[in-house]
C-alpha cells in the first residue's frame, strides 16, 4: 500500500488564528471563493479540522490518514475507503448513511457529523481536488506542514 502524504502538526507554532478552518471551508465550498462561501452558500461546508485550544496551547487536528485505520474497519457501507493511488483515507458522501460508526472508531476524534444537505460524516480529504491542502498552504506560521512518505516536507511551490 502506498503511504499517503501526511499533515504534521507542530503545536508549538500554532497561533490559534483558525485560518486553517476558514480555508478548509472555502476549499470545500461550491464557489471556492472565500467571501461567497461564507456569505452566500447554505449549507456552508463543515471544516475537516478540529481546532483545540487550552491556555496558550492550541492546534488544528485533521484526519491522520492512518496506516491501519479503525474508521475503515468500522464503516458499514464502504463509504470510508482507502484510495489506492494516493494511500489516503477518503470518504464518499454519496454512500454514507450517517451511522457514525467512524466517529465511534476514530481515536483522534476527527470525523465530524455534517448535518448540511444530508446527514453524513465529514472529514479531511487532504484537499485531493486542489492537490495541496488548503490549511497547510494558508497556515501563516507553518504550524501544520505536509510531508511525504519519508517524512520530507512538501512545499506548495513544489506541487
Amino acid at each position: 500500500m502506498r503511504k499517503p502524504k501526511r499533515i504534521i502538526i507542530r503545536e508549538e507554532y500554532c497561533m490559534g488564528c483558525r485560518l486553517c478552518e476558514v480555508y478548509c471551508i472555502t476549499q470545500h465550498s461550491k464557489s471556492k471563493d472565500i467571501i461567497k462561501a461564507y456569505r452566500g452558500e447554505e449549507p456552508r461546508p463543515v471544516s475537516g479540522i478540529y481546532f483545540e485550544e487550552k491556555g496558550f496551547v492550541s492546534f488544528a487536528l485533521q484526519c491522520r490518514h492512518c496506516d491501519d485505520a479503525p474508521c475503515l474497519e468500522a464503516c458499514i457501507t464502504g463509504a470510508m475507503y482507502r484510495d489506492e493511488s494516493t494511500g489516503m483515507v477518503l470518504h464518499d458522501r454519496e454512500r454514507c448513511v450517517g451511522c457514525w460508526m467512524c466517529i465511534m472508531a476514530c481515536p483522534y476524534g476527527v470525523v465530524k457529523p455534517d448535518f448540511g444537505e444530508r446527514k453524513v460524516a465529514s472529514k479531511c480529504d487532504l484537499c485531493i481536488e486542489a492537490e495541496f491542502p488548503a490549511c497547510v498552504e494558508h497556515c501563516p506560521n507553518e504550524a501544520i506542514v505536509l510531508v511525504d512518505e519519508e517524512g520530507e516536507r512538501i512545499y506548495k511551490e513544489a506541487v
Binding site: 485505520a69 479503525p70 458499514i76 457501507t77 466517529i103 465530524k112 517524512g151
Partner: protein, 429 residues
C-alpha cells in the same frame, strides 16, 4: 474438485476483511469464498436502512463486485458449506462439490435465536427474524401485499430496535415486547435506556417491558395476534423475532474443532485445528477488557478479527489485541455510541462519571483510573477518542474532570501521549 490456498466460509464482514488482509500479504494465492446467501455482497447493518427505504438495493454492498474481481476471488454463492473434514482438508458444499483448502477461515457469523412460543410452528407467513437481506425483503413484500399497518417486535435489543426503526419509516405502528425491564439492556444503562424509550414513545412506538410472547395466533398460516405471558394480547399482522443471535456452529459441531459459546480461537485467530481459523460473530476471542474470551457480535470486531485472521493465514504474524463491545446507533433520531462496560457491577472498584443536559447524556466508567466503558447519547462528536483511551489503557487521573467537559479533546490528554498522537504519523500498526 477445486483446491484453493485460502477458503473462506461466509462472505460478510469477517470474510471480506480477511480477503483484504490476505491480499495485502499474498497477491496471488487463490481465494475461494462460499456463502449460502445469494448476494454478491451486502452490509448486514444496512438491512434496517433498506427496510426503511433509506438505502436502495444497489447501495447495500460495502464492497462491490469489482472488489472480488480485483482481488481474484472465486465467489461461490447460494451454496452452503455442509461438511468439514479437517483431516482431508476439505469442505463439502450443499450441491456436493468438495473444496480443498490450504487455510480455512470459518466466518459463518451468527443466526437468530428463536425462543419457544406456542403456535409458532403453525405460522407460515408473517413471522420473521431480522438478520439477512432476504428477511428485510420478505418483510417489505409482506407489508405491501398485506397492507400491514401495525407490527409486534419481540426483543428490544439492537436488532429489534433497528427493525422497529425500519418499520416505522414505512408507516407501520410498532409495539415492542421486551423481557427485561428496559430497552437495550445489554448495551446501555438505565438512564440512557429511559431517554431512548421516551423518544421511541414520542415516535409513536409502544414498549411493553418485563413480558414476552407465550403464544402466537395465526389463521390460514398467517400470524394474527400474539398473547403475552402476562395474558395481554396484541394484534400482530406482522411479527419480528429479534431476541438475539448465537454463533453459527453447525459446520464445526462434528469436527475436532473446539468451541464454547463460539469457536474458540487464539491470538492469531487460529482454532484448535491447524490451518483452520475463525473470525467474526462465530468466534470466541480475547475480550480486551476482561482478558477472557467471549463472543462480541458487532461489526468492527468482526472486521478486525477477519483482518487479523487473513494476515496470519497469509503468513504475516499479527496478534489480535482484543476488542471490546462498541456500537453506534441512531434510534428515534438520537445518536448513541457506547463502549465496553456501561453498567458495571456495583462496588467492585468502578467509578462512574455522568453528565446530563438538554440534548445529551454522557457516562464514563472507570476502573483504577482507566476507562472501561462509556455512553454518549445525543452529542457523539469526538467519542472515538474514548475508544482510544480504553485501548491504550491511559491513566486518566490527571484529566478526569475534563472527560465530560464540552471541549474535551486531545488537548486535555497528557502532553506526551498527545504529542505522540498529533505529531506522529497516525497509528503505528
Amino acid at each position: 474438485m477445486t483446491r484453493s490456498r485460502y477458503l473462506i466460509i461466509g462472505n460478510s464482514t469477517a470474510g471480506v476483511a480477511a480477503i483484504e488482509a490476505i491480499r495485502q500479504v499474498d497477491g496471488k494465492g487463490a481465494i475461494t469464498v462460499v456463502s449460502d446467501e445469494d448476494v454478491v455482497n451486502y452490509s448486514r447493518p444496512l438491512i434496517s436502512y433498506y427496510l426503511g427505504g433509506r438505502v436502495s438495493e444497489e447501495r447495500m454492498a460495502f464492497r462491490d463486485r469489482r472488489f472480488y474481481e480485483r482481488n481474484g476471488v472465486t465467489l461461490i454463492l447460494g451454496r452452503k458449506a455442509e461438511e468439514l473434514d479437517v483431516e482431508g482438508r476439505k469442505v463439502v458444499l450443499s450441491d456436493g462439490t468438495s473444496l480443498h483448502y490450504g487455510k480455512l477461515l470459518i466466518a459463518t457469523g451468527g443466526r437468530p435465536i428463536i425462543p419457544p412460543m406456542d403456535g409458532l410452528q403453525k405460522v407460515r407467513e408473517g413471522a420473521f427474524t431480522f438478520t439477512r437481506l432476504s428477511d428485510a425483503k420478505g418483510i417489505l413484500g409482506y407489508i405491501r401485499e398485506n397492507e400491514v399497518e401495525e407490527a409486534v417486535v419481540l426483543g428490544a435489543g439492537l436488532i429489534g430496535l433497528k427493525a422497529t426503526e425500519g418499520l416505522v419509516e414505512r408507516g407501520v405502528k410498532v409495539t415492542i415486547v421486551e423481557l427485561a425491564d428496559r430497552i437495550l439492556a445489554n448495551t446501555l444503562d438505565r438512564e440512557a435506556s429511559a431517554i431512548l424509550e421516551r423518544a421511541l414513545g414520542d415516535w409513536g412506538c409502544k414498549v411493553i417491558k418485563e413480558d414476552t410472547i407465550s403464544r402466537v395466533v395465526s389463521s390460514r398460516g398467517k400470524v394474527r395476534e400474539v398473547v403475552l405471558r402476562s395474558g395481554r394480547s396484541l394484534s400482530a399482522p406482522l411479527l419480528v423475532i429479534a431476541v438475539g443471535v448465537r454463533p453459527n456452529l453447525e459446520l464445526v459441531e462434528d469436527t475436532p474443532i473446539s468451541y464454547d459459546r463460539g469457536i474458540t480461537v487464539d491470538e492469531h485467530m487460529r482454532t484448535s485445528v491447524e490451518d483452520v481459523y475463525a473470525a467474526g460473530d462465530v468466534a470466541q476471542a480475547k475480550d480486551f477488557l476482561s482478558g477472557w474470551s467471549s463472543v462480541i457480535a458487532v461489526w468492527p470486531v468482526a472486521f478486525r478479527q477477519g483482518k487479523v485472521a487473513g494476515w496470519n493465514m497469509a503468513g504475516r504474524e499479527v496478534r489480535y489485541e482484543g476488542l471490546f463491545p462498541m456500537n453506534s446507533v441512531e434510534l428515534a433520531g438520537i445518536p448513541t455510541i457506547s463502549f465496553g462496560t456501561t453498567t458495571p457491577p456495583e462496588a467492585d472498584g468502578y467509578e462512574i462519571l455522568t453528565r446530563r443536559d438538554e440534548e445529551s447524556y454522557r457516562k464514563i466508567v472507570l476502573k483504577e483510573n482507566r476507562l472501561v466503558g462509556a455512553i454518549f447519547l445525543g452529542r457523539i462528536e469526538r467519542a472515538g477518542i474514548f475508544s482510544g483511551l480504553i485501548r491504550d489503557g491511559i491513566d486518566v487521573s490527571s484529566f478526569k474532570e475534563e472527560l465530560l467537559s464540552d471541549d474535551f479533546g486531545l488537548l486535555v490528554l497528557p502532553a506526551e501521549y498527545r504529542k505522540h498522537m498529533v505529531t506522529g504519523e497516525g497509528m503505528e500498526v
